[in-house]
């Protein structure tokens, strides 16, 4: 079965602009297989079921749309948190700017260097979760990433890691087109927090494959912002073992086009998976959260909490699915997607999906769109809080349920601070 002509042409044009890294070692066969997946699937087109709300054109074009390089923010997010920084500049690891990766309970290897080494856990993971995540919904941009990633980092946590690893993405080149692939393995009982910050590149394609073993815990907080022209397609593929914990929160401010996909497979009993996002969109901003959580074990809990604040023509998209397989009894699934539309021009498109094949489960979902509650706004103003400030308070109030998903208080405070800062800078 061949691809439609338009899709074939677009896919070939993009593939012609890419080359596999010459140093590819043990990843080469995995990359070749991924390339075959891309060729079979074709890159996303507007008629694809999961791309109806988001135009993929700028994510699949041969060259990226140039993006202005902005001076770094005065107060970078997570600056006050004791963390281990791994810095990438336009998608290339910069050891000089990074911290010494030696930390108890942690093994860190740069992908570009790992290629020549025999790292068995990584060989069992690279492209593996991505491949599993291709069904039932194809994710060709992730396969493209597996085939052509130029860099990334391999992180293996063997114990409770005392401080977070911060992947810092710097953007210095207006036409950079970065493809990063990270592998993360959290061993039984280990506990790892990964933070991600920074604009990364003009166009950013990132895949993170996260394998959380039995009793492991993985916390992920990322802040996307300060990059008005950014186009990004990111994927997280996670596999969760028994009694493991996976919690991911994403803050998105600005960016022209962002598609964040999270694909989670709960394969061990009593697992916990929380995925949350808060986004602030202004003007020509398009933000898409596409989440797919599969329950394939007993007594697992999953939560999806996504909140979007949109104005002046900004568009928010949420496509969230909970799939409960036969036998995944006692599943507790929760999904909420809400938008706060600050004016008539803002758009929110939501597609919540539940597919359940077990009979003893509790799953709920909800999706709403609304304006700022006038009664609450009046209450604040009647106490003397000026209108603009009162509106900002209402925005933070709206986002609170998502932000509360961040467990670490210091990290949560930083996220709130950067939101408050954004709101103040964008006051009308």
């Amino acid at each position: 079965m061949g691809l439609p002509q338009a899709k074939l042409t677009a896919t070939e044009a993009r593939l012609a602009s890419l080359a596999m890294p010459v140093q590819a070692g043990w990843t080469r066969p995995l990359r070749e297989a991924a390339l075959t997946r891309v060729q079979d699937l074709g890159l996303p087109g507007r008629r694809d079921e999961y791309w109806r709300f988001t135009r993929p054109d700028e994510l699949i074009s041969a060259a990226p749309v140039p993006a202005a390089v902005l001076p770094p923010a005065e107060n970078a997010t997570f600056e006050d948190i004791d963390r281990l920084r791994l810095v990438f500049v336009d998608g290339v690891f910069d050891p000089e700017a990074s911290d010494d990766p030696a930390l108890a309970g942690l093994e860190i290897t740069r992908l570009a260097e790992a290629e020549a080494q025999d790292i068995s856990w990584a060989a069992d993971l690279y492209g593996v979760l991505e491949t599993r995540g291709q069904s039932p919904v194809p994710r060709p941009l992730a396969a493209l990433n597996t085939a052509f990633a130029t860099d990334g980092v391999l992180i293996r946590a063997t114990g409770k890691v005392e401080k977070p690893v911060n992947l810092v993405y710097r953007h210095c080149d207006e036409t950079s087109d970065a493809i990063l692939h990270h592998l993360i393995r959290v061993e039984p009982g280990a506990d790892l927090t990964v933070l991600e910050t920074g604009p990364a590149a003009a166009r950013f394609n990132k895949v993170m494959e996260v394998d959380v073993a039995d009793g492991g815990a993985f916390h992920h907080v990322r802040s996307q912002g300060r990059d008005h022209d950014r186009r990004a397609a990111t994927h997280i593929f996670a596999r969760l073992g028994e009694e493991s914990i996976f919690k991911s929160f994403t803050l998105t401010m600005n960016g022209a086009l962002t598609r964040n996909e999270v694909v989670i497979e709960m394969t061990g009993d009593n697992g916990t998976a929380h995925v949350a996002g808060a986004c602030m969109g202004d003007g020509s901003f398009h933000h898409d959260d596409t989440v797919f959580i599969t329950h394939d074990a007993l007594n697992c809990e999953s939560r999806q909490v996504f909140k979007k604040v949109l104005r002046k023509g900004a568009t928010g998209v949420f496509q969230g699915k909970i799939l409960v397989k036969a036998g995944a009894q006692k599943t507790d699934g929760y999904q909420i997607s809400q938008s706060l539309l600050l004016d008539e021009e803002a758009n929110f498109l939501a597609k919540p999906e539940l597919e359940i094949y077990a009979d003893d489960v509790a799953c709920s979902h909800g999706s709403t769109s609304g304006a700022i509650d006038e009664d609450a706004l009046f209450y604040l103003r009647s106490r003397g809080v000026p209108k603009a400030e009162a509106q900002d308070m209402m925005v933070l109030s709206f986002l609170a349920e998502a932000i509360e998903e961040i467990e670490a208080e210091a990290v949560r405070d930083e996220v709130v601070a950067s939101l408050a800062d954004w709101l103040e800078r964008h006051r009308r």
């Binding site: 009046f378 209108k387 109030s397 932000i403």
Partner: protein
């Protein structure tokens, strides 16, 4: 302190006139009560004075210490010294009670050109005032009015009033939803704030609140107007005979 002259106001959407010429003067240091049957316009009067949207003032004036209230935004009225204790205080998830209160105190100070209250002083004051109202530290930490009982919400209103130190306090059916003990606690809080330079307008259905907050003047409001004014004995008359006699008398 508060001077209302021939105030007419309508619902913006329906154009229905609710206030039909209210005349009322509350002097500094005095407590005035407004009683009246449902639908007489009591709550509307409080909203129009404090600047809630959805109402259109078609005639008349309202001034606070000589300043034209109706020309100001809600927050400017607050900074000018007006405070409305809500009948139904609003729950605001994700905004800490303390953060909100401190933002309000300092926003008002800033608007008046005064120096902001530093964190330590604020904390000290709020703790002392909360203690008087039996508001515990846990309640102060929670998001605004979230998980508060009816009585706790009303006490929180009085705490805000105590911190903001307004010139003119309007209490909109503060007794609704309160049991006797809670009402007494709230009344004690209000009485503690009575001062020679502060006026009160207490809106209530029932006389019982006025046993605890004893008014200097009682007004009866009906069909968008003040129809009768008297001393505290007027409230007792309402308690005994209801509004029917008074309504018939002025008709």
């Amino acid at each position: 302190m508060l001077e209302i002259k021939n105030l007419h106001a309508s619902l913006e959407e329906e154009g229905k006139e609710i206030l039909k010429g209210v005349n009322l003067t509350v002097e500094a240091g005095k407590v005035h009560a407004i009683m009246g049957p449902n639908g007489s316009g009591k709550s509307t009067l409080s909203y129009v004075l404090s600047g809630k949207g959805g109402y259109e003032v078609t005639d008349g004036s309202a001034t606070l210490a000589g300043a034209d209230l109706l020309a100001m935004e809600a927050e400017e009225r607050a900074a000018a010294g007006l405070f409305l204790a809500f009948q139904y205080p609003v729950e605001i998830p994700g905004v800490g009670n303390m953060t909100f209160l401190r933002t309000a105190v300092n926003a008002q100070r800033k608007a008046r050109g005064e120096e902001e209250m530093d964190a330590a002083t604020f904390l000290k004051e709020v703790r002392a005032k909360a203690k008087d109202l039996k508001i515990d530290a846990e309640m102060l930490k929670r998001p605004v009015n979230m998980g508060f009982s009816g009585g706790e919400k009303k006490r929180n209103e009085i705490l805000q009033m105590a911190m903001l130190e307004p010139k003119m306090c309007i209490l909109d059916e503060t007794d609704s939803g309160l049991d006797v003990d809670a009402m007494k606690l709230v009344a004690d809080g209000v009485n503690a704030l009575r001062a020679p330079d502060r006026g009160f307008l207490v809106i209530t259905h029932y006389q019982r609140l006025l046993d605890h907050i004893v008014p200097d003047v009682v007004h009866i409001m009906a069909k968008g107007r003040i129809i009768k004014t008297g001393g505290p004995e007027l409230a007792l008359e309402v308690e005994r005979n209801g509004y029917a006699d008074i309504l018939a008398e002025v008709a």
